[in-house]
Each structure stands twice: as structure tokens, then as C-alpha cells.
Symmetry: C2
Subunit: 687 residues, 2 copies
């Protein structure tokens, strides 16, 4: 019954007719998925999950590698030094437990701090080297991904927004005139974007018609009928190109009628004859007014977020500012539950504010439970409302593509998580009484140096609870399972589940936060690193399985996540160094402090170098690749076919109706050549 939850991707690849007869051997609980996840080569992951999935797994691989080095340094260099730091403490190990393994146990002005300094150097240099190679290899993979991909409509298309309104002619006409004038040789055609309401209305009317004609029993006939209707509707929105064949529509009079009813927005997809021409059009400013005729790279057809395309371009900057402010306000409002949580870690504080708990907390078991696990659990529960909120902000912001929306939400969740989970816990966790911690910047280094090692225990439990909870919930998919059960048992719907695409916006920040915690404590309290190694190993297996079996790849950003990941990892590195610097300062070790400062500078310079060297590859496509691809296609005479397919690629009706009809197979357009280029399951959905 629940196989659609755990094998969504595989199910979507199999024809729906045969699904009941196929025996899913893998459905019985067996450990074979672990072997499968472990053995699958990266090339297969790339073919199945796309470049984004590979990039995500690379984050985990990088973490595994660097934390192996950190664990080695920690166990053989830092831990012994910490343990032998203050000899008087050695007999109290039982009671003090984990505290002796942190840097807090090292004497003031100890000569042994060079060990920490050395560990810091080795971890930083290894991390920078690994990061450089990762960035390099992912940049190359991105280039190869673009170069070897089959013709993709997005490379030939440009999204034009803010077409100026004129009383004489429609948006479509003025666009045609301008692009014929300035890009005459390369302009192929265009596809206007219509208002959401219009498209919606047409779709519901069509569906109503379908329902009127046929009942549920003759479903097969309905399907055929609906397909015909939808395809005729989509014909009426065919590309308004200058090629003669576009005028040979099936019913020209009806076509014109619907077109005039549909309300055009000042946005359109413009198609060009070559990839290079489209790239130029996207990069060059066309008009003397920078707020009109704005051109952008077009997203992939399935990636387009249609309803945001009709937002007036002039609003976008305002929307961006407003969502930024809203996200910041949300971040600070979230302090309320977080302050409550870190109150729980301080037992005396808790007993003081909630006196009725005193009786329960006297029991040792309850005591450990409350101070150990409860805070993390509450924090995790509160964190569940963050992704939907940030996703909502990303929509308000006006992202034009689904992947862009996810990326924007990912950034917001990342900042949010690091700020709330780490900084607030560190900075106010130990100074609940002085909430004005931030008002004395001079105190921050000392406070940081005191608070970070002290919070090591909290973060060990956080890694345990958060790591276990996230991995097991990722594997079990409880929400989807419950929803599936609800639908089957209560609503009595028999539709298969629509498989989801990978939630990068929640998983990337989660993995990066754990990496951040790992870096901070790798020198100060190396025991956490061992826990993290276990987590990352399990995560590697689990996420590989999920990518192979559960999620589908609807669209692809081509590894655009990596620059963010790189930046966050370098930030973690620098923050690790600065924290260590503060701790060294607190331990009165001037030589260790002066050795660490150049390390911070070098790491920042390394980041800047990587930005210069690799970041432009992720921002623009190089002309060289585009021109070579164009030349190949022209030589093999595929160009003609590509141009024909192009004009059907961005069809608001067909693409939207796919989202609306839950059984996605119904109203699909005939698969075009350009669709064949897409890696992933959509190709198979319709066949």
C-alpha cells in the first residue's frame, strides 16, 4: 500500500497500467538497500538524480573526509592534551564526564596549546585543499553537464519582462517589432505569458466539460477525450512566430477568439536560432531604460514558476527588500522559543521560573532527560515550521523558477538555522540574565571563548537528536506516510502518490549546520567529531537511497547550490579559527594567538580566490561552449528539428495542466526532442 512513499521514483518510471501486476520484491524490509546505496557509482547517481543530487552528496563526502582528518587529529593530538591538561581533575572523571575532554581542561598559559594550534592549521589546510578540489571538480562537472546535454529549450530561450505598454499595439506585437529590429538575424519567435486567472479559467472549463460528457466509469474514454481537448486548447496558445506554419492552426477563428480573451502579461519567452544568440540577448541591455525590456536566462520549461511571471517587474526590488526584512523579523521572533529551550538546559534557572517542576526534576532520570534531550526535541519541533515559512517568503520575493525559489528558501533557512541554533544558543545560552550581550562588542570575544566550550555537551546531544531524528524521518517519511494512509483510508482515493522532488532547501542547511558545529568543536571539544562521523556515514547511505528510490528530478539547476555551500563551509572554517583565537586569548597564550591570525587571513584570501576562479562559471555560460554546441547541431542538421520543438516547449496551458491534474499522465504534450534531453523520470512518466 505504501510503496509509492518509498519507491516513488521507481514507480513513476514504470507504466501505470502494469503497476499492479509487478511484484515489488524490494518492498519487504531487507538491508539490501544499504548495499545498493553503497555500491551505486556516481555516474549512475548523476544519471538518475542529476547534478544537484551529486553536489548534495559531495557535501556529505567532503564532510566525511575532513572530519576523518579532524577526528584523527582530535584523538591522537588534542584529546590527550586536554585530558592531561589539569592533573587535579583526573580523579574526578566520573562526575565531570565529558568536560575533561574539552579545551576548558587546559591550564592557563599552558605550553601545550601549540597542539591545538597545530591541529587548527592541519584541519584548515586540509579543508581548503579539499574545498578547492571539490569546487574545481563540480565546476568541471557543470561544464560537462552543459556541454553533453541534449538540446534543452532553456538554452535557446530568454525570458523578457517589463515590456512597455503602448495603447496602439499589444505586448506581443511590440515585442515582435523590437526583437525583429535589434535581434533580427537570430529571432525565431516568442511565447507570451498569460495572466494566471485566464489560464486557470480555461483549464477548469475544459475539465468541467470533460466531467459533463463522461462519468467516472468510462475513464479510459475520458482520458482520450481530455487529452484531445487539452491539446486543442494548447494549440490556441501556440507560438506567435513569424514562420508561416504557425498560422495553419486547426481553427483560426476560434484561436483568435481565445487569444483575445486571454490577458497578456508584459512578460514573454523569446526564442532564438542559436544558443549563443540567446546568451547574448540575456546578457546585453537592450533598452535605454533599464527598467523595461529586461532580459534573463529562461528557466527550464518544467522549472518555470508561472504565477510569478505576471508580477510587474517594477515591484520586484521592493518585494525583495520586504521579504528580506520579513525574514529578519521572523528570525528575531523565533528567539522566543529558542530562549525557552536554552532556559531548559540550565536547571537552576528553570526551577526558579517554573517552581512546580521542582518535584519532578529532583529525580535524576527526569533531570537528565530535561536538560539533555528535551531542549533539542523542542527546538527541532519548532524548526519544522521554518521551511514552509521561508518557502512562502521565496514565493513572495518573485522567483521565476521552482529551483530558484528552492535556492532562495535554502539561503534563508541556512542563515536562519546558523543564527538561531548556534549563535543564540552560544551567546545567550550562558548569559540568560544579560540579554544585552550584543550591546558590548568588546565583550563578545571573551564571551565566545567562555561559552563555546561550555556548550559542548548541549551540541553533542543536539547532533545526536537532530542527526538521528532527521535521518530516520528522512528514511521513514512519516508525514507522507500519514498523508498517504489518510488519503487511502479516510478519503478513499485510490490515486498513486505524486512523487516529490528532493527537498534541497531543508536538507542542505541541515547538513551544513552539522558541519558548522563540527568545525567549531573539532579543536575545542573533539568528541563531537566522532558522533558527526557516524552521522555523515549514515547520511551518505540514506540520502543515496532516497535519491535512487524516492525522489524524482523534475528540474535541474546544474549544481548552482555549490557556491553557497562553499561560502558556508569557508565561513565555518573562519569561525572555527576565530573561536579558537578567542579561546587562546582567554588562556593567555600570546604565541598561539599570533600564529592563528595569519591562518584567518589566508582562509579569507583562499575564499576570494575561489570566488574569482570558479564563481563566474556558475553565473554565466561561457560563449565557447555555446558556440561549439551550436556548430555541432548545425553540422548534424538537427537545428531545424530543435527550432520546431522549441515553439511548443514553453506552453503555459500544457505545463500548468500537468500540475493541476494529479495523475500527471493525462494531458501531456507529445514528447518533444527537447524533452528527451532531460535526465530524469518525466521522460518516462508519459510513455
Amino acid at each position: 500500500m505504501n510503496w509509492s512513499v518509498y519507491f516513488g521514483r521507481r514507480l513513476s518510471q514504470v507504466s501505470p497500467r502494469r503497476s499492479h501486476s509487478v511484484c515489488f520484491q524490494r518492498f519487504v524490509p531487507s538491508p539490501s538497500w544499504i548495499l545498493k546505496a553503497w555500491e551505486t557509482p556516481e555516474a549512475e547517481i548523476l544519471a538518475v538524480g542529476g547534478l544537484d543530487a551529486v553536489v548534495f552528496l559531495r557535501i556529505i563526502l567532503f564532510s566525511l573526509r575532513i572530519f576523518s582528518v579532524a577526528a584523527f587529529m582530535g584523538i591522537f593530538l588534542v584529546l590527550p592534551v586536554n585530558y592531561h591538561g589539569q592533573e587535579m581533575h583526573q580523579d574526578r572523571i566520573q562526575s565531570e564526564s565529558l568536560e575533561v575532554f574539552t579545551i576548558g581542561n587546559v591550564k592557563l598559559g599552558s605550553k601545550w596549546l601549540w597542539a591545538h594550534c597545530l591541529a587548527l592549521y592541519i584541519i584548515s589546510f586540509t579543508a581548503c585543499l579539499l574545498l578547492y578540489f571539490e569546487y574545481n571538480s563540480i565546476a568541471n562537472m557543470r561544464l560537462a553537464h552543459i556541454r553533453t546535454s541534449l538540446p534543452n529549450p532553456r538554452h535557446f530561450s530568454v525570458l523578457v519582462r517589463a515590456i512597455p505598454w503602448s495603447p496602439e499595439e499589444s505586448y506581443s506585437d511590440s515585442l515582435k517589432k523590437v526583437f525583429k529590429k535589434y535581434h533580427g538575424a537570430n529571432y525565431l519567435g516568442h511565447q507570451m505569458v498569460y495572466h494566471r486567472g485566464t489560464v486557470q479559467k480555461l483549464l477548469t472549463e475544459t475539465r468541467k466539460l470533460c466531467k459533463m460528457i463522461s462519468s467516472d466509469k468510462v475513464r479510459d474514454r475520458l482520458n482520450i477525450l481530455q487529452c484531445t481537448l487539452c491539446s486543442s486548447t494548447s494549440d490556441s496558445f501556440r507560438v506567435l512566430s513569424d514562420e508561416p506554419e504557425s498560422m495553419n492552426g486547426k481553427s483560426p477563428s476560434r484561436e483568435r477568439e481565445i487569444s483575445s480573451n486571454a490577458k497578456e502579461t508584459p512578460a514573454a519567452f523569446v526564442f532564438f536560432k542559436t544558443r549563443y544568440a540567446a546568451d547574448i540577448a540575456a546578457n546585453v541591455i537592450l533598452s535605454t531604460n533599464p527598467m523595461s525590456w529586461v532580459t534573463n536566462y529562461a528557466p527550464e520549461p518544467h522549472d518555470v514558476y508561472w504565477s510569478n511571471l505576471s508580477i510587474p517587474f517594477g515591484q520586484l526590488w521592493l518585494r525583495k527588500i520586504i521579504t528580506l526584512l520579513a525574514a529578519i523579523v521572523f528570525m528575531f521572533l523565533f528567539l522566543i522559543p529558542v530562549t525557552f529551550v536554552q532556559g531548559l538546559t540550565q536547571l537552576d534557572q528553570l526551577q526558579y521560573s517554573l517552581p512546580f517542576l521542582r518535584g519532578i526534576l529532583k529525580e535524576k532520570y527526569m533531570n537528565q532527560l530535561v536538560t539533555g534531550y528535551l531542549p533539542s526535541v523542542i527546538l527541532l519541533l519548532f524548526l519544522y515550521i521554518v521551511p514552509p515559512t521561508m518557502m512562502f517568503f521565496a514565493v513572495i520575493e518573485g522567483s521565476i523558477s521552482r529551483s530558484g525559489r528552492k535556492r532562495s528558501a535554502c539561503h534563508k533557512i541556512l542563515y536562519f538555522t546558523i543564527w538561531n541554533v548556534f549563535f543564540v544558543n552560544i551567546l545567550s545560552g550562558s548569559v540568560l540574565r544579560q540579554l544585552d550581550a550584543l550591546s558590548t562588542p568588546k565583550e563578545i570575544p571573551t564571551q565566545l571563548a567562555r561559552a563555546v566550550p561550555a556548550q559542548a555537551t548541549f551540541f553533542m546531544t543536539y547532533v545526536l537528536t537532530s542527526g538521528c531524528a532527521s535521518l530516520s524521518s528522512e528514511l521513514m517519511q512519516p508525514m507522507v506516510l500519514i498523508w498517504n494512509w489518510f488519503k487511502r483510508v479516510i478519503l478513499r482515493q485510490k490515486d498513486d502518490m505524486v512523487p516529490y522532488s528532493f527537498p534541497y532547501h531543508t536538507e542542505v542547511p541541515r547538513v551544513l549546520l552539522l558541519g558548522f558545529i563540527g568545525f567549531i568543536f573539532s579543536v575545542l571539544a573533539p568528541l563531537i567529531v566522532l558522533l558527526l562521523l557516524v552521522y555523515f556515514f549514515l547520511a551518505y547511505l540514506v540520502y543515496r537511497n532516497q535519491i535512487l528510490n524516492v525522489y524524482i528530478t523534475k528540474y535541474e539547476s546544474g549544481g548552482l547550490l555549490w557556491p553557497t555551500v562553499h561560502k558556508t563551509l569557508v565561513f565555518s572554517l573562519v569561525f572555527m579559527q576565530i573561536t579558537a583565537l578567542c579561546v587562546f586569548g582567554l588562556k593567555n597564550s600570546k604565541s598561539a594567538v599570533s600564529f592563528t591570525i595569519p591562518l584567518v587571513v589566508c582562509t579569507m584570501l583562499f575564499n576570494e580566490y575561489c570566488r574569482q576562479r570558479f564563481y563566474p562559471i556558475f553565473k554565466n555560460t561561457s560563449a565557447q561552449i555555446l558556440i561549439e554546441m551550436d556548430q555541432e547541431d548545425e553540422q548534424s542538421e538537427r537545428m531545424e528539428q530543435i527550432h520546431q520543438d522549441l515553439q511548443k516547449a514553453y506552453n503555459q496551458i500544457t505545463l500548468k495542466s500537468q500540475d493541476l491534474h494529479k495523475p500527471a499522465q493525462l494531458s501531456r504534450p507529445t514528447p518533444t526532442r527537447s524533452d528527451e534531453g532531460r535526465i530524469g523520470p518525466e521522460r518516462d512518466q508519459g510513455s
Copy 2:
């Protein structure tokens, strides 16, 4: 004798042969220049000084306009309120003098603060309106400037840097191969950049040869000879284009010989057949490695800073970071003289630290002199070393053009001036004993609110001394005068002075700083505004005269200064509002505070809107204009001529030798068509 100092531009326009016979009537001291400066229409300024001069004068005009409004509001609204603020003070006017006119005289929680709030609103709205219209009109002027300019070689050229080294072929060959492959249809030719040493050596050899042949007496013959030599040398560096005529050099064997001797750098100017093609090449990323084949818009031929072109591209990011850090360190080192200066304004403090002065300071006259004028004078003297230092930083940074270097220096000087003159005086002027003012951010608003009105007197004298000193020194040009006298009397050189180009990098920050001071005090202590009005009026006359008579326009950035100016003015506005906010807070007027907050938000949104609306015009040229210009030239069949001239435009030898030979007329290339397009005096220099 000194006319070259005061009429440099006019002299340079007159043929040097005739210069001794022309009678300079305007040289006798007469007020007629004032009339001339006042009457000259903006169109003539534009023709004579270029768009940059007009933009500079627009800053002064804007200041005049907004401070007229501010003065009106100040005199009829704010001053009376301030004056009647605390009645008990009215009989002490004589002793307290100017303090009663500041906001400091208003009672705590006074209802009359609405007057200040209203003045703030009116000034802010007027300023935003004026700024919008200025930005709009300057953006239009920039567009018109590009559209109406005659063919300019920079529009057809692209600077390519970081050509990858290959052992098989020279930079020139690999560039040719790559651009023929990827820009085949539009590539016209290219001009390599040679190492500075090589060019220098060739030039000195040529000049040595000239000296050997002829003595000083037969100067005329030498000139001719040198011209011939240089032009033959420059021929040997002719464009290595694929057009057949480029191979018809005068002496192909010698050409090849010198070419092989000259050491190529991995940088070159590449010429394209159309402006649009060059624009595309500059905007599109060519290679898959973003650190090689880097393309930029080319500067004008006379604007190129040749020696920086040979800096390896990979160094640039590092150089930028290093100069930024150096500038910041310089900024903080400068605190030493500034702290000394603001110590002088506090008499008791001074007497305490320098006891021997106590006798002198008892006299009232000396007392006023020391606290009033001396600090400003010392500060001004120290400020004289700032522009050369910042110019040096801008060179180290690797600017590829002279105007870019000046712009970079201008930014640095601007930040420097505002930080040092204003913030340090305000923040530490009143709290000399607590140097850790910045370590308590919570205190800053209160401190700001207390210190700003208190420092009004200092800034009044600063405006007086700085304004008078800068304007009179601008008019008298003492340094140039002394140098001129030194050269004539001591060195016995009879060369005419080479006229300078306008020092935007020192004058723009100076005018903007005074505007900044004006904005801050326009509500708090409106008397300063009256002084500023006088200053800006005089500045308007003086700078108009200087642009008309003294400076020449060697190169033009096309109004690129304005975005910086706009940003600084908006910053001044916001800072004025925030200071007022703090003062209102200190006066316990909650309603005034809550009325001011939306104003700050609106001003920031206004700035963001302007950035969206106008800034791209200053960053890129729109394709529309370029395509139209190309089409016009093609229709009028000028294109052929332009292409021919283009290949001589960027000639390192000729352009460098012009810099080296002081009388700039000597080794000029025959004026090409493209030079005719330049507005300004170079056109006339050679004729």
C-alpha cells in the same frame, strides 16, 4: 609669464607658434571673468569641459538649490523656534552667541519640535525630488553624449587580458586564432600591449638618436625628424590584422625584427567591425576558465594607463584587497593628527596637556584664534597629503585607465574625508578621554545627539576656512604658480606649462563633504547653511571659470561620477535624519521620533529605486543605441574609414611618447577620424 597657469586650456587651444604674438587681454586682473563664468551656457561647458565637468557643476547647482530651501526653512521656521526655546537664555545672547540658534536651546519634551520635524520632511522630500530629476537628466545626457558622439575607437574595441600562455605560439597568434574562431564574423584586428621596459627603451633610443643628429638650435628640424622616426616606429607596431593591407607595411623585415624584440604581455586591444559586436564581446564570458580571456570595455586611447595593462590579471584581486586594507590602515593612522586637532578645540584640555601655552592663551584674541581657526588650518594642511596617497593606492590597485584611477582615488578620498573630518571630530571631539566610544554601540545614538549640536561652532569655522582656502587656492593655483616660477627662474626652462586636467578626485569629495556638513546641521543649527550658500555660490563661479580657462579635458568618463555623488548625497540625507532622530530622542519627544522613522525608510527605498532605474545606464551601454549608431554609420558608408583609423588608435608608442615629450604637440599621430569625435581640446592641440 604666468598665463600658462591661469589660461592653460586657452593656451593649449592656440597654436604654439602664435602664442607669443597673441595679446592676452584677459590676463590683467579684472572682474570680467566672473561675468563670463556666470553667463556661459551649459551647452558651452559641455562642449568645452565634457560631460564630467557638467556633472561636477551639477553637484554645486544641486547644493545651491537644496540649501536655499534649507536656509528658507531654517530662517523662518527653525531659527525662531530655537531662539525662543528656553526663555531664560535670551538675556545671555551676547556671551552664548551662536549656541542659542542651535537645537540645544530647545526645552526637553518641547511641543515645538514639530517645527524641526516639518523642516526635516520638507528638506528630505525636496532633496529626493531634486536628486531624482538630476539623476534622470544626467542619465539622459549620458545617453545623448554616447548617441551623438562621432565615432570613438573605444566603442569598437575590447580590452582582452589574461591570454593564456602556450609554448607553441605567441600571445598574438593564439588571440588571433581564438577570436577568429568565436567572433569570426566581427573580428577586425588586434593590437598587443607590450612590456613597459621595451617601449621605454625604444623611445629613449629614438630620442638619443634625435639628439645625436641635431642640437637644440635646429629644433624645428628635430621635430620633423622625431615625428618621422616615431611614426615609423609606430608603424612597426601596426595592427596584426588579417586584412591584406596591414601586410603592406613600409619595411616588413624591420617590422618583424622589432616585433620579436618587443616583449608581449598577455593583454591586447581587440577591434571589432561594429560597436554592438564589441559590446557583446565585452559582456560575454568567452572561456570556460573565468580567469583567462577576460574581456572589458576598452578605455579611450588617451585614457589608457599603459603600465598597468601589463599587470598579470591573476594579481588584480589580491591588489584590490591589499590597497583596500592599506587605505583603511592609512585612515586610522590619520587619527593621530586629527586627535591632536580636536584637542585644540577644547581649551582646558589643551592647557592641561601643554602647560607652557597657558600664558599665551589667556589673551582673548589668541584664545579665539587657537580654538577657532588653528584646528581647521592644521587639519587642512594634513589633508593635503591625502590625495597623492590615495592616487598611489589607485595605481597599485591596477586601474586600466586614467579616469578609472581618478575615480578610484575619488572614492577613497571621499570615504576618508567623511570618516576623518566628520565622524572622528564628532565622536571623539567631545569624548577625548573615552577613546573607547565605539565599544559601546548602545551609547552611540545618545553621544551623537549630544555631540553634533555641540560641534556646530567648529564646523562653522571649518566651512569658513576650508571653503575660503580651497576656493582661493583653486583660483590662485599656488602650487602650480610656484612650480612655474621655479622652472623659469631657477631651472631656466622656457617650455610652456602642460595644462592639467580637472582634479575631480580632490574637488568632488571636498564639495560633497561640505554638502554632508550642510545636511547634518540644516535642521539642528541652520546658521551653517547660510555660510554654505555663500560658499556654493562662489564655488559655482570659480569652478566654471576654471573649467572654461584653466583645465583641459584629456579624457572623459561620460558622467560616471554621478552614481557615487548620488549615493553620498543620499547617505548625507539619511545621516541627517538619523542624527535628528537621536536628538529628538534626547529631547524626549516620542512623536517626533516616530514621525522621523518612516522618513528614513522612505529615503532608503528612494535610493534603491534610483539604483534600479538609473545605475545600469552608467554601467553598460544599451544595445539599442549601439545598433542604431552602427546602422547610421553603415548607411553613410563611413564604416570603412572608421575601420582603417581604428587600427592606429591604440598605439602604445605614439600615445606613450606623447606623455614623455613634454610639448605634447611633437609626436602626435595624424589626427584620425575617430579623434575628431572627441569633445575638448585635444582636437585642437595638434592642429
